[in-house]
Amino acid sequence: MKLGIRTRITLLTAALGMLASGLTGYYAYRASQGLLAEAAEREMLTSARVLGRHLTLNIREAARDATLLSGLPATLAVADLREPSTHATVAYNNLARIFESMLAIQPQYFQIRLIRADRHGLEVVRVDRDGTDLTRVDGAMLQEKGHYPYVFQTLRLKPGDTYLSPIRINQEQGTHTGHGQPTLQVARQVFASDGRLYGLIIINIDLNGLFGLLKADLPATQGLYLTNAQGDFLIHPDPEQTFGFQRGHRILAQDVFPSVADIINEKADYRLISLNSPPVLRGHPALPATAVFLRQPLGNYVSDDSFVLIGLSMPQREITRHTHTLAIASLNIVLVFSAVAFVLALWMSRALTSPLQRILQAVGRVSAGGDPGELPLNRKDELGDLARGVAHMHTQIRDQMAALDERRRTVDHLSRHDTLTGLPNRRMFFDVLKHAVTQAERTGAQLAVMFIDLDHFKAVNDTHGHATGDRVLQIVAARLQHCVRSGDTLARLGGDEFIILIESLSTREPVTAIAQKLIAQFETPFSVGPHEARLGLSIGISVLPEDGVEAETLVARADEAMYAAKLAGRNGYRFFTDPS
């Protein structure tokens, strides 16, 4: 297939435009995709930091509450009791009411207790959260807790220190709402007025309650993780994966997310983790995910775990969801710009090629002999130059053609006329005569050929010179011309011989009249400058059809009749066939 220049320019520029917009769109998309992913990761990191900060603040608050409770007069009243005492019940009840008030305003607390240092860590005052209610546990229900680390470790604290327990599932029986729940404990020593270590105040914090509220603010697709300082999962999207160490097998974050080990070993504060094929866990989508883990120090407490790890994960699909929108937007932009590029390409090729086509058509018209028509002559560019070139070329060609025509016409005229007198020459006369003969044959009209020879012309030439002779011949021609009718043809055959064709005759009268008029014309002498010459003329006349029906014959007969006239005494006329 032959592609026109317009099509080719259109396709090429459109392709270039589309390529440019496509590439721009693609690279813009890639760059933005990276930025979006980074933004998502930053967002997760920030969320994790907020969660961590919240945890720390809650622990600090609980520690302050424990400190407050441990120094309250009501607590001292219990610690100062001398057993057996009748005031005991009142003192216990007072403290229990304070515990209840505290639990009422701190929904994240499961339990507040006062525990004795002696009697195997017997609980003295204890209030548990029980669903929406608070339950006072007392009497025989109070338990001995001396064998729990939170008791013996708190009792061994230096005065003024606060104990923070590891996060564990609370498996202690009879703890109401707190039973079976992930729990964090904060404890402070309690001293009697005499400085004797009486026991401890301990607050159980509801870990899930703490995180539940925060989790509600996280996108549903984000997975929340919490591990202790060793990496054991405490919170995990799949609850089965948590607190494995309390069921005899540890489930460690560093086994699932290897670079978490760097945080545990204190090589890094946080790690962004890309999991292309995360382990298939229940409740944990086995999709490529991005996770962030960071270390969250818990504060200045006596604890086996000085920090926890907080992790958030997000399916990469969620991150790329935004990039999908971006991709579609980019694609739309690319499509629109491609369309624009196509239209522009079409317009441009048109703008470029239509003047060319006009010029081409003009050249076509010029070569067909016509006028070039409208040309973009006013353009200031190469096309304008081209148009002007074509126009100039056309003008030149036209002028040359005109000159040639003129020449041809001159040559033609010259070939058919006598140069001296301007009268038709022999050749032309015969053409006209032949034409008239044919015409006369068809119409049946008569015609006459009048052969004229000047008398004594040789003497004029000899006497006055050729220049005068030529001038005389011109005057002769003029006088002869004056005598013929407009339809008749006067020609010079050469030298001093002239010939006249007289057409459309029905009688010989006009012929005779013309002959007599001619002779009369010559009675006036010819003046050329100082010279004067008298000339006569002998006229021989042949008539069609009597004297012949062919041009040559008619001329020959007229010539003969002219000789006869000359012989008869010059300055007269004679018919070849005497009419009489």
């Binding site: 195997h120 229900m141 009879g174």
Partner: protein
Amino acid sequence: MLRSCLNHRILRLWLVFAALQGLSHSALAVETLRILAWPGYADADLVKAFEQRHGVRVEVTLVGNDDILREKMAAGSGAHFDVIAANTAEMVHYIDSGLIQPIETGNIPNLRRQLPRFRPLSAIPGITRAGSVYAIPYTYSEMGLIYDRRRFKTAPASYADLWNPRYAGQILLFDGGTHNFSLAAMALGLDPFRIPSAEFPRALKKLLALRRNALVFYSLPEEAARLFREQSAALLFANYGSQQVKLLRDAGVDIGYAVPRTGALAWLDCWAVSRGARNKALAEAWINYTLEPGVSHALSVRQGLANTLETSAASRPGDPLIWLEPVEDGARRTRLWQRILSGEREALLLQ
């Protein structure tokens, strides 16, 4: 020329096809032995040697606790595995539920290499029934007492030392109802695995006393080791046996390890052949292979577990080991234990 080229191609294609066929055929033809065992019982290099010797493929599935092992055996009624490893108490369960089948001891000549303690097999409770042998002992560990050498002039001779008020608040015990009831029963002179209902109040009181004497109850060996060091404990009931001894010695703690002369609880893991075994002879060949000196020795070296061929450093041949047996009511023991651990006092507990 073209023709021969084409022929070559066809030939090549055919060869590839044939090779693939051969491969899949051989994969089908190679016998597979499916082992369900604990970490360390079927290490890759030992498995490879077995595969090469028998021209078979071995598939090892590892389990971490008895419950998961039960689950895996229950699914498919044992047809998913050929050989399993479990302790003597669990074997009773598998025999009862018909998930394992009798073993042809003639196919296990290495039995003669085993220590006298393991002969005859009928003397070990739980692994024989009606004259048939259902399980072959492979590895064991006594639950001895780890003690601080500075505080004991002589090694503790009995679990009774766990109640010794001299060490009150310095004893680490295991957080497990079944074993703790057994300890209490032994201290009371009762059968550790069958406590009569009438004796439960005594056992409970004994456990209350145990609790009050204890510093803490641990779950994991690492936890126990850390607490022993940090809390300067005097005595530790080593539920995990020599593994815990190794942990503490590696940490540089000056400890001694005693297997009570008056009788020590001990778990004994055995191999058994699943009822759904595809090739019983191959399963028996595996059991025989693990009783080769090299393989059994590797287990001891790598895992710190006693094998059945060599005298272990911890337990002397004469030490009375009491192999674990199913208890009268495990659920009841666990339930009661949770209450004791939570700190309930006698009045409530004995109601």
